[in-house]
């Protein structure tokens, strides 16, 4: 038979026209909603519901379509009529891949081109990124769905497997979260190996099933892989990875940020999240030495406390997250201490040693751009415009990926007129905002190729919003790159922890970038 691939494909189209229609309708609705909705909805509007429902619905519709069409010639069982018909397994698989390509990949590509065009970004300049997104969707959705379809006999079975996989992922995440030091350790070769194993197993199972239909062995392979991954979590030498990634600064080496205990800051009066048998402590820190136009992230901290009687407590490495900037002299170290230890030492002077895992991001390119009333170009091939509601917000769109950048604006240069309901900017105040993106991938994974973000300029620490950006206000956009990872140590002698016990943890506080 010359055209077995097309023959099977035509049969599948005839059989699954309804699922095809639904998935196309969902992706078209997604695209329509994405290009017509406002970037920021300050109050629930007609697009709010669709914006919440459609993003998960698109992959669900695709996964359903893939599973249904692959299960049309089910690999599981010994009673399927097609098994004893002259099907060539390679052509059967090719027919299914053709179906997935035409009804998943092609619509995805089509709406991405459409959305780029509507956002004013010429698609021809972003072909590599669009192909990268196709690859990502193939690995993240199509391959798992095809693997699932090839080891299950029905949608019901497939759903149960998905639920089981979700429980497994939740369990894995919980295990990862309780592993000492795991939250701070950088990605290692073991992480890459796990991903490679998952992809290889998926491809192997699909080919094994189509060529030989060995369901039991295929399922065993996947179960074996699932059993292997926790071993990787246990076997990863997190401490070694941290030591290797964040080396101790040499004596003569100037650290990217100097951190000192702030003895002058009064005890905190914040309210905290209650946690059984735990006490929250906030140690105020003074920051200096951060170069203008650069940014230092505290990736993790490790705190040890030693009481005069020799009793000791150590937090191990735990993820932090504060960002240190020039002209921002205050920071803090939040600690969660075992209550029993705290009660024993809270009133005596203790020695505290803090290790900081720091990453320095330095400016690659700085551009001063004057904000315009209409949209204006910004680094990363993006466009920004002023939010209609707040004068410290910039709404920005970028093709395929957001840049990693630091935005700053000075009080002296703001063109915003003073208003009665707004507090005047103090002299010398600088508003900062930043957009994280440390990935070097050509595109951010998602359905939409247009990445939108809100840059919110803030000088921190003040409850009132300040007006920084109006038409004519010059802003500095600095694209960042990682240049150094280092460990910094701080010894604090003779403090009483009771003075720094948090009654509460304040919400927010820093300048934030809204993703």
């Amino acid at each position: 038979m010359k055209n077995q691939i097309l023959h099977i494909f035509q049969k599948d189209v005839r059989h699954h026209w309804l699922e095809i229609a639904v998935s196309v309708a969902v992706i078209v609705a997604y695209a329509w909603n994405a290009v017509t909705r406002p970037m920021v909805e300050y109050a629930p509007g007609p697009h709010t519901f669709l914006s919440r429902v459609l993003p998960p619905l698109v992959p669900i519709a695709w996964a359903f379509l893939i599973v249904r069409v692959l299960q049309g010639e089910c690999m599981v069982g010994d009673r399927q009529f097609w098994v004893t018909r002259p099907y060539d397994w390679k052509k059967l698989l090719a027919a299914k891949l053709l179906f997935v390509f035409l009804f998943v990949n092609a619509p995805l590509f089509g709406i991405q081109v459409f959305m780029l065009l509507k956002a004013g970004f010429p698609p021809s300049r972003y072909v590599i990124g669009l192909l990268w997104l196709q690859l990502m969707w193939t690995l993240i959705l199509i391959l798992p769905a095809a693997t699932l379809a090839s080891i299950t006999a029905s949608i019901g079975q497939a759903t149960l497997v998905v639920l089981g996989a979700l429980l497994y992922i939740i369990g894995g995440a919980a295990l990862d979260s309780v592993m000492p030091n795991a939250g701070v350790a950088p990605d290692s070769i073991l992480d890459s190996l796990q991903i490679a194993m998952l992809i290889s197993a998926g491809v192997a199972v699909v080919f094994w099933q189509y060529s030989r239909r060995r369901t039991a062995q295929s399922r065993l392979l996947l179960l074996g892989l699932a059993a292997t991954i926790p071993i990787f979590i246990f076997a990863t030498p997190y401490q070694t990875l941290i030591d290797h990634a964040y080396r101790q600064a040499a004596a003569a080496q100037e650290p990217p940020a100097r951190l000192a205990f702030d003895f002058t800051k009064p005890r905190s009066r914040g309210r905290g999240y209650p946690e059984k048998n735990k006490v929250h402590v906030r140690l105020p820190l003074l920051v200096s030495g951060v170069t203008s136009g650069s940014m230092v992230q505290v990736n993790g901290t490790r705190v040890s406390i030693q009481a005069p009687d020799g009793r000791q407590w150590s937090s191990g490495w735990h993820a932090a997250g504060p960002v240190l900037l020039a002209d921002r002299p205050h920071s803090q170290e939040d600690l969660t201490i075992d209550q029993s230890f705290f009660e024993q030492v809270k009133s005596v002077p203790v020695k505290v040693h803090i290790s900081f895992a720091l990453t320095l991001f330095e400016g690659k390119e700085a551009r001063r751009i004057v904000a315009e009333a209409s949209q204006f170009s910004v680094p990363g091939n993006g466009r920004c415009w002023l939010a209609s509601r707040w004068s410290n917000e910039l709404l920005c769109s970028f093709p395929l990926r957001k840049p990693f950048l630091l935005l700053s604006g000075s009080a002296e240069e703001t063109t915003c007129a003073a208003r009665e309901d707004k507090e005047l900017l103090p002299a010398g105040a600088i508003g900062y905002s930043w957009q994280w993106n440390q990935s070097s991938d050509p595109a951010e994974f998602g359905i939409s190729p247009v990445q939108s973000t809100v840059l919110y300029l803030s000088d921190w620490g003040e409850a009132v919003s300040r007006e920084y950006v109006c038409p004519g206000t010059p802003l500095t956009f600095t694209t960042l790159q990682e240049t150094q990872r280092i460990r910094s140590e701080l010894d604090i002698d003779g403090i009483r922890l009771a003075h720094y016990q948090l009654i509460g943890v304040e919400d927010g506080g820093f300048g934030i970038s809204v993703p």
Partner: protein, 299 residues
Amino acid sequence: MSCAIRTHDLVKKFFRVTAVRDLNLDVPEGAIYALVGPNGAGKTTAIKVLMNIFPATSGSAEVLGTDSRRIAGAAFTSIGYVSENQEMPGWMRIDQFLAYLRPFYPTWDRDLENVMAKQYMLPLDRKLGKLSRGVRMKAVLVSALAYHPKLIVLDEPFGGLDPLVRDELIEGLLERGSEATIFVSSHDLAEIENVASHVGYLEEGRLRFSEDMAALIDRFREVELTFDAAPALQAKWPESWMQVDAAGAVVRFIESRFDEERTRSEIQNLFGQARDTTFTPMSLRSIFLAMAKAGRGSA
């Protein structure tokens, strides 16, 4: 004599359960071979190993000269497989199903398809999933015969069908499958008694016998001996005698290697002269039941 199917020490195990044990089977080309045995004997498993639906645990099998492990794809252009439990694409109408299968087979005979569809009065515009069991089997049989397969494999094809439908199917099978080897499994001997040229009896995964039907019928006899007085019974009977039963002056048994001269001689040696001796030919069903009982007795 060339064989359409040949197995050598074929074994199929499912974990600790052995479904087929050391199966040695020769199905001559052109034969209508009936593989019979009680439910659970291993007939369907054996067929699925032959069709490469299941891999064999050990041993080997050849189907139309091809190693059964290589039976796939184009090999099925020469094999028509019909099973009572096949999962069909229920969303397809019969005409769509036949049209879908047509291009897979270079030898598909559209005229034969039409003739059979008319003969079976197939409702071509009905979906397979909505058909009665009998009509569905007819549709499947048309789809398995329309390309003139060299080997037709039927796994319990007539189970649960009413006699009229069953006779229609058998008639169609015999008419259209005359040029093919037919391998049919059944637990109901009445279905295949009049059509099979060869028969194999499978029990608990083992092939108890496999031979030409005429020879089988020839070698089995119900024997009834009438004496003037109750004869003295022996502790041990000839191995070929089954179900020996004595009631007063009458002794009955089943002779499984009937040869009139030899059997009379054995009777004479064991009982002396009987007043009356009758040898009654047996139906396949009776032979099957006798074998089944003997099997259970020995187990």
